[in-house]
Subunit: 366 residues, 4 copies
């Protein structure tokens, strides 16, 4: 992984800024002969797109994706797939004020320091808008996975918003699509609506924790030691804007466990070994076990808020800055489909990598 | 990053198994003309090496590193540096019992499933012994960093062992070297000694959280979006054996913050902008801010324990397994120097990458 | 380098097919702050574009390039630059006949065998049309090189067409722009016009040798052993459609030299060491010497010809195939700007790589 | 490919200098379960090793290779294989004279310029001795290929030494092992012996052309456009010391062909399409056709000769330099097994890459 490309065999290169004419990605290494059309990608784009309710930015973008290459007569050809999304609602005037100032908690200052120049319109390249390209790439990965591993299912949802968690006993994946937070706990979702509304009206924002679970992942994916499945998932999730922490399985809580507690004991089931628990989150030694792959990541609160914060501008003047414009009170909401997309891309990449090195042959047990 | 290599320009390729004749790494992309000798590397090896007290495995390894290439007349030549460490205390007989069985919570089963064959002696490639090569590579990175960024300091320490944390008000880095846990809180260290002794004697083990802080990191390191400094740190730390979670700055706790709280406000100091807090852990938009880079990771408890756990063997028989041998009751202890080494490698790699792309020129403020 | 991306730090990812809606490339790793506009790229596109005279395909493409990202207020921002070129004159009907048949000497059959599916319209991804993206990327590289190494000059020209060579004593680079063959020998160019016209009218085509010379390349570029400057040049040139051989300096003729003849002797000049000859083509041990970098490559004749050739179709039927359509009688002509572009990309990539690893410091002589 | 690593999935990282304690390589991405022992590698090492007759350097090196990792109980485990070769006959005193001077035609000066420091003993890293590591890696590739593609055969031989060629009508591969030049033409080999002896006694050296042919390569290997099979072969061969040109199939001579001549016509054979000629050298559009893959490369004459040549030293003094020591009068001889090894590595890498992306499914014809 380097610069604007990620993946080893299934490789995604993204490009584009928040307020440029378009953004997109090149998806390379796609297996040939897989049915793919814009209609397979658009539903995932729609899930991420802004302006769908009062809890996300009011920017209106249709996020229509066009396939410009790599698909012929309805199937992938094995050549690079270019996916382009035009920007239509840039409204650059909103951003005039921050052209010279650095929003606290935002990449404004680091882009300026590193490059000496930055596209300040809407955050330029550092905008969450870049994640649209990831979702498009993820949709391609899903189409291939659906064919190669029919039973594989990826589900993302929010398990914490600010100080409000969920009750895991109430998790119902059917609920995820029924509330604006992709929350699997219907009771929590109602509380969150009130909570986030208060924060929004008080010109504040809040962080979140997203969980992405992949079921039906075959055992054997992952290339230790520096292409471990969890290492690549950590890199992929941490590369999403505003993410500050990544966990696999029990994650940070693993530290508090004893070895006796943490051992996922194994018995023989009808189709081979079965684990009695999944503290490991489906990954041991960087290789998938066949259990659900469980990944969580924390998204920090949106740094663009209407409450004034102390900062400086390019001239070195100390100012108080209010960030006007159309911002997400909880950018974590829109990170849910992005996390799912990154999971899909990483899993497919490792599926291909494993097939390349080992041919997919598996060691027998029993 | 792929398979057994990590890094972009400063690239480390590790090799070797726990009970093979030797292990080591090739360190490539090293700037030329930097003074380097075995004596610069050995102190870091000694810090990680096993058998130093009752809280780490009793395997005795001198972990003497030899430089086989890339250094001439005391300085690096810019060609690949091969570092080799011979294994001297393998005692393979200890491991006969687990040749056919899979330790719960261990990579035994996934290596078997993926490769169909595995070096079961001491965990083979999945052994924590591989981290010796990382520490050696990290020592090379430190030697280069010391010359390129004189003020840079990397400090790793343990902030949690099992259910026992530290009192951050008592953090004193001078304490870190004074106890066997690399604990910066002298009071906590005493408690931990009792706690870990009990666990050890009850045939159990426990997890830990390590924090690694780099001070003096220049602003501008990191290559968004898929070579973000935090993305590469996450990948690097997650690639260490037994790590299940990685955090930057406030990490998972960022989720509970509001935007008002999370904004690291900025004022002008004598030498440029200064941040009034560091929730971001020194990284914004994947690029270093000039503040301390703060990274934490959780290490799960050692899965090799003397308490019997239910599992299966290659024949598919259900068994209860006790892992005899010489194991770390808290493998997190030895992860401290490993985390430091990974931090050093990632920082140097990004220093070189940034110099390559931008020439190190920085945008002015004020 | 892998799949559709080449380069290490300065990385180019191309996409697009001959008869798709568009093609282009993502140029990543570009130093920030370099002035760049479509007008800097277009002249190089015009040099390559088809339909300019009777010696190239009659397909009419304006080859207008659009910058979709990575440039703001007239300068590069250090983020990926997306360059898109729309296809406007596809005329797919021309290609209906070869949808099911494999042109001898063409990639039709290998794409079919590898991928099981292929975009047969105009050769799809294997079309020389892909080289438009390389020329666009090369123009970006030139803009950066012009700023970083002001004296660097890249000149490409044809030194052989079919059985007709040039007289090196008559080389005059000013001639290159004056004839349709980029031939530096005015006398040869006239002969070639007659020769190629005959071939064209007899429904045949012919190969060519292109030479690309870069003057003003600083000493020290190249990363031995597997990122040698010549190794990367060989890879880059061989990746151009229809190229079958690559030479550095004396190239294949080096085999016939003795060590006494081949030694480029050195004397001290006003500004340091000077070589008395350049058999090495400016590269020793994979690293540039400061002399002109000299690279040649052979382009095979266009395989799409109006003379019937024996082949088979997808059904396995033996047929005689005539390739109708608009083809280049000597596709080597249009390879000249492509070779220049690849040279520019490789040199810039190595300039950045070298700056990254060594900081550009040079060993003194004298 | 970058710096000291080549390959995509099957990746080889070499290290070591001519006069250091040892050299070797890490071979990563090896399929698991393949029988491998030192005895499988040694014969290839012996083929390349110096001092076997008066036509190669008199340095005596047993070139015994040790497998330090990645093989367990006689089979590969899928983890990195470390191969180490100790240097035993360094005789550093021979090289004292050139510590401060730059041999014309040698990498001495460019290593000095790039790195500011160089290991002058025996050429250090730029020595042909590095190729021992390639041969070892190639032997691993051959072991895997033998299992995955049983009919695949790789044969290298010399087709030109200095001004002396061979008669292709007399090619007999059985002759290759019978003369010190790996020459397939027994008559030519006798002439060459006289010719090279004269050159050697006159304190001169000479270049050569090596041809490497792989038969039984399946159709479909190669990843256009920047991982083309021929592009990777060109890179691999050009990375060998002293190589100045690489050809595929008809190579540079393709330029003189017409499209009618160059078209490798196709008929249906018993097992599918058959080509009536092989101008393409088994590669079309960067993908293997199933015909023999034919690659040739030119090796320049050894630059270390006993005839004085004009040069300068580090102080900038103009001197006449004689290179004493034990040098190959035609270093191309020892390049034969190296070229074979590179062919094996590239083919295996592409076999794995192709299996990764496409699963090895092939488009049907007939």
């Amino acid at each position: 992984m380097s610069f604007n490309t990620f993946g080893h065999i299934f490789r995604v290169t993204t490009w584009g800024e928040s307020h440029g004419p378009a953004l997109g990605c090149t998806v390379d290494g796609v297996p040939p002969g897989v049915a793919l059309a814009e209609a397979d990608i658009q539903p995932w784009m729609d899930k991420r797109k802004p302006g769908q309710n009062k809890f996300t930015t009011q920017r209106k973008e249709p996020d229509e994706v066009r396939i410009l290459s790599g698909v012929f007569e309805g199937v992938t050809t094995g050549t690079p797939i270019q996916l382009m999304i035009e920007n239509t609602d840039q409204r650059s005037k909103d951003y005039g004020e921050i052209a010279q100032a650095f929003r606290p908690g935002h990449a404004d200052i680091t882009y300026h320091q590193k490059y000496g120049v930055r596209d300040y319109r809407g955050g330029g390249r550092s905008s969450a808008r870049e994640t649209a390209a990831r979702v498009a790439a993820g949709a391609v990965a899903r189409a291939v996975l659906a064919r190669m591993v029919p039973g594989l299912r990826i589900a993302g949802y929010m398990v914490q918003m600010g100080v409000k968690g969920i009750d895991r006993a109430r998790i119902d994946l059917a609920e995820v699509e029924r509330n604006p937070f992709w929350c699997p706990d219907a009771v929590a979702a109602e509380e969150w609506a009130v909570y986030l509304d208060e924060l929004r009206l008080s010109h504040n924002s809040v962080g979140a924790v997203i969980e992405v679970v992949a079921e039906g992942v075959p055992a054997g994916l992952g290339a230790p030691l520096y292409g471990k499945l969890d290492s690549d998932l950590a890199s992929a999730m941490m590369s999403i804007n505003a993410v500050k922490g990544v966990e696999i399985g029990d994650g940070m809580a693993s530290a508090a466990l004893t070895g006796v507690e943490n051992a996922d004991e194994i018995r023989m089931g009808a189709e081979g070994p079965e684990f009695l628990s999944n503290h490991a989150g489906g990954i041991l030694g960087g290789i998938s076990t066949g259990q659900p792959v469980v990944c969580r990541f924390a998204v920090k609160p949106t740094s663009s808020i209407l409450t004034p914060r102390r900062t400086v501008n390019v001239k070195g003047e100390e100012i108080d800055l209010i960030t006007k414009g159309r911002h997400d009170p909880c950018v974590g909401i829109r990170a849910v489909p992005v996390g799912e997309a990154m999971m899909a891309c990483v899993l497919l990449d490792h599926l291909l990598l494993d097939r390349g090195q080992t041919g997919g042959v598996r060691g027998k047990i029993g």
